[in-house]
Symmetry: C2
Subunit: 509 residues, 2 copies
């Protein structure tokens, strides 16, 4: 029986050679850009709102019914910080890519401020290679997944670093396929008839790469990316290799352009033109989700594919470009993109994981985008790994397994020592925040004051309780300070004195 | 022993599941653009020429020493026809993409002619999808390799179809990775400091996609593509999956720009500036070949990797952009790119296949680029396959196994019912040609006459023997006519009469 034993050993070995893949789940991160918490027909709050009724997202509804809805999911207030957190598992205060990165290298994107100077943050984004100036050097999530035998695909907006840095190219971040991702943060045009901006002599830095086959056609950018994602999944499916797909839509970021396929019904419903256009961007994105889900079913892999739906920051609430009344676009949440009020950071998040997540469940557990990193590794069964960075994220697989799982002691932290736009109101610049349980504290550095909210009773952050609850204010400020110091977080500089802004707990003394 | 048998069956099955890859060879097609037969220090003719002494290509020399040198390898006279032949296994007369395709859809690139109109050729190139107007619908080679479990990579110039068609995107042609390939046929710039042409508002259709990480750097395009190719090979190597890499350099096509790393020595050697620049394009390409070979060795896969070196047409010989004396750039061959004289179609070709090709051998067997298709399939062990097209190519694996193998009865055919440039001399427009053994016949349609050459004694095509050997002329014209008719090849139209140009054998009557 010696030969029998040898055969068994050989058999066992064969099962572990790369390529002889087990039934590890495929994982899709469906990332939307600038989508607000209320920009869909799925209610993420307690009630169905007028905004929920405005938008049509039947496929998100389907995903919600088949998976878990997260009502307290967070990202950062602007794009690149969230995307870098996703790929590094680090808090933005820690990775220091605290603001969005320019398409051009060494270019700080901060708006000019009369009082403060932004710190020298990592303006060159994420780098998988050491010693690139002003970058965070980290092991990107897809790299680990690739190492573990996953076929890793990026489609759509990348925006992890400016042109001229390794991080601008998804191929350097562990993706084996990259379609349409580079240094840019929004498309020059959503229209195939505009070649997505690739018009000789009229091109800006924001022309979308890689989609030449759709040039001159009526194919809307969202549709083109969906088609490309579906094509890219073909190879790993045929090879029976698990895949990781990061489908990162440019939608629904500005420029707000009509996806004609959906426009008329919104106009008929009485929406003004800009609002109707925005609704078509949303519905086109939702159709993409539906197309992906249908494709998975057709291929018979829907039962073994996890879908994580997420947005990278709150909905745009600057009326100048978004239309409507300023900072009302995410109601009942306050403010929008760029702000550390809930409107800027709370995200529509859904997770479908057949066999693990109970369909139609809701979790109110708060979590933040860097949690995706350890969660996805756990989903993929990647237990041993080494990373250059220390992870801040915490896996929420336990929540996915039990939607009632709750941790109200954890502190979530946001840190934005930057200025996004000229507007200095509504927590849009130079601000840190912390949430523990339902308590949320904002440190408005420019005004040198705190605001405290009880999100359980005041999701709209209307009633500042900082004076009423000084002990709670101090408690949160202390935790916030401790953590920021531990990360060696960067603070803005006061122009007048040349000194950095005080730590949160210092202004309470 | 029943269980023992079952185990054996299971074992056998496991060995055949996709992913549990056998030792099938990796295959690299190293394709150079517009490189002439003499543009290197490897002598492809009988003697070392002054041109061989001008260029420095030590890595080609190494490859030649380690593999087989083909002295009679042919492509088409311009770019896209050759590239489509490579990916379809079809002769250009058959696939009807007889001229280079424009970056823009539905745009015939033919120069205006006073006497003839070009036929309505497949101006939209190759299509993997049916019913795309003016395309050849075919199963691309990489598709079959992907189906067979190969990891398929395209890096560099694609140029299989104009923007707006599926063929413009290598992802539609069976490539799992595409870096820098789309509808364009040459780069706007080779310089990283020019962002390879991606300069907002200054962009032409020819800006090179996907290389944003090198923007602003001193990285020459050839170097960037090499680095990307090396990165792309990483995944299949780690997964022990065989790969097919089509590394298609933009070099040495115009614009002739200096690769500064190599410039000074050519200037010191007395070359004029333009010529020196061209020599740096060549040396940069050769360094790329060396880097790839070194990488394979480092990874320990050089013994299991086939390298096929090829160019897509003859060296440019129009002095206006290439410099020098017109049509002398490929001496001893006559004329250059665009011509059906040898200078336009004969290519520097090398094949290294460890364990199969005897190192340092030379084959004088004539072959044509469509032969790559069945050859590569045979190399990859792909026996059963179905294609939409009928193949014209013939595998030359037998030659690789025995450099003395010879077939002097085969007919090679070229067909160019087009006009590339305003020059109507030197077989540059409206011409067909056939080679059988050492006999070559050209049918110069515009002049309604034949030329016959004995390449064995007259490689420079100086002595037209058509009058001297009328029977041979008739014999070749007959074979040429028969084959063109069989392919239903397109002929130019005589403007005056509105009729198509006579078949070759018709003008002999």
């Amino acid at each position: 029986m010696k030969i029998f034993k040898k055969l068994l050993v050989l058999l066992a070995m064969l099962c572990f050679i790369p390529g002889a893949y087990s039934q590890r789940p495929n994982i899709i991160v469906f990332m939307v850009d600038d989508m607000g918490w209320q920009d869909c027909s799925v209610p993420f709050g307690k009630d169905v709102t007028p905004l929920n009724r405005k938008f049509r997202t039947p496929n998100m509804e389907k995903l919600s019914n088949e998976g878990m809805k997260f009502t307290n999911a967070y990202a950062c207030s602007v794009c690149t910080p969230s995307r870098v957190s996703l790929l590094t598992g680090m808090n933005a205060a820690h990775h220091r890519v605290t603001n969005w990165t320019s398409p051009v290298m060494n270019d700080a994107t901060d708006a000019e401020d009369a009082l403060f100077t932004s710190p020298f943050w990592n303006i060159n984004g994420l780098s998988p290679i050491k010693d690139i100036p002003n970058t965070v050097y980290a092991t990107p999530l897809p790299e680990l997944l690739k190492d573990a035998g996953y076929f890793t695909i990026h489609v759509g907006k990348a925006h992890w670093g400016p042109a001229g840095t390794p991080g601008s190219n998804p191929y350097n971040l562990g993706f084996m396929v990259n379609i349409a991702g580079n240094a840019i943060g929004h498309p020059q045009s959503y229209l195939g008839t505009d070649n997505y901006g690739n018009i000789p002599k009229k091109t800006t830095a924001n022309s979308v790469p890689d989609l030449s086959e759709y040039y001159g056609s009526e194919t809307f950018l969202t549709e083109a990316l969906t088609k490309e994602a579906i094509k890219a999944m073909d190879a790993p499916i045929r090879n029976n290799q698990p895949f990781f797909l990061h489908l990162a839509h440019y939608a629904v970021h500005t420029p707000i352009m009509a996806d004609k396929r959906f426009l008329q019904k919104y106009l008929d419903a009485g929406l003004d033109t800009l609002d109707a256009k925005y609704a078509t961007l949303i519905e086109g994105m939702d159709k993409s989700l539906g197309d992906i889900m249908k494709f998975l079913k057709t291929k018979g892999i829907d039962k073994n594919t996890i879908i994580i739906f997420m947005s990278d920051n709150g909905g745009l609430s600057l009326s100048s470009i978004r239309g409507g009344t300023k900072h009302t676009q995410n109601l009942p949440l306050r403010a929008g993109k760029g702000s550390l009020y809930e409107g800027g950071i709370r995200e529509p998040m859904l997770v479908k994981w057949p066999g693990v997540v109970k369909p139609g469940t809701i979790s109110d557990q708060y979590l933040q985008i860097q949690d995706f990193y350890p969660t996805i590794l756990e989903m993929a069964g990647v237990k041993k790994h080494t990373t250059h960075q220390t992870l801040d994220g915490k896996s929420f697989v336990n929540v996915l397994k039990n939607h009632k799982a709750s941790d109200t002691t954890r502190a979530l932290i946001w840190h934005y020592p930057n200025k996004w736009t000229n507007d200095t109101t509504e927590a849009l610049c130079f601000v840190s925040a912390i949430r523990i349980g339902n308590w949320k504290l904002l440190y408005l550095m420019r005004e040198a004051r705190m605001e405290l909210y009880d999100l359980g009773n005041d999701i709209g952050e209307k009633n500042d309780l900082s004076v009423q609850f000084p002990a709670k204010t101090r408690e949160l400020a202390t935790v916030l300070t401790k953590q920021l110091k531990e990360w060696n977080a960067q603070m803005p500089i006061v122009k007048k004195t040349g000194k950095t802004v005080p730590w949160p707990d210092e202004i309470l003394r």
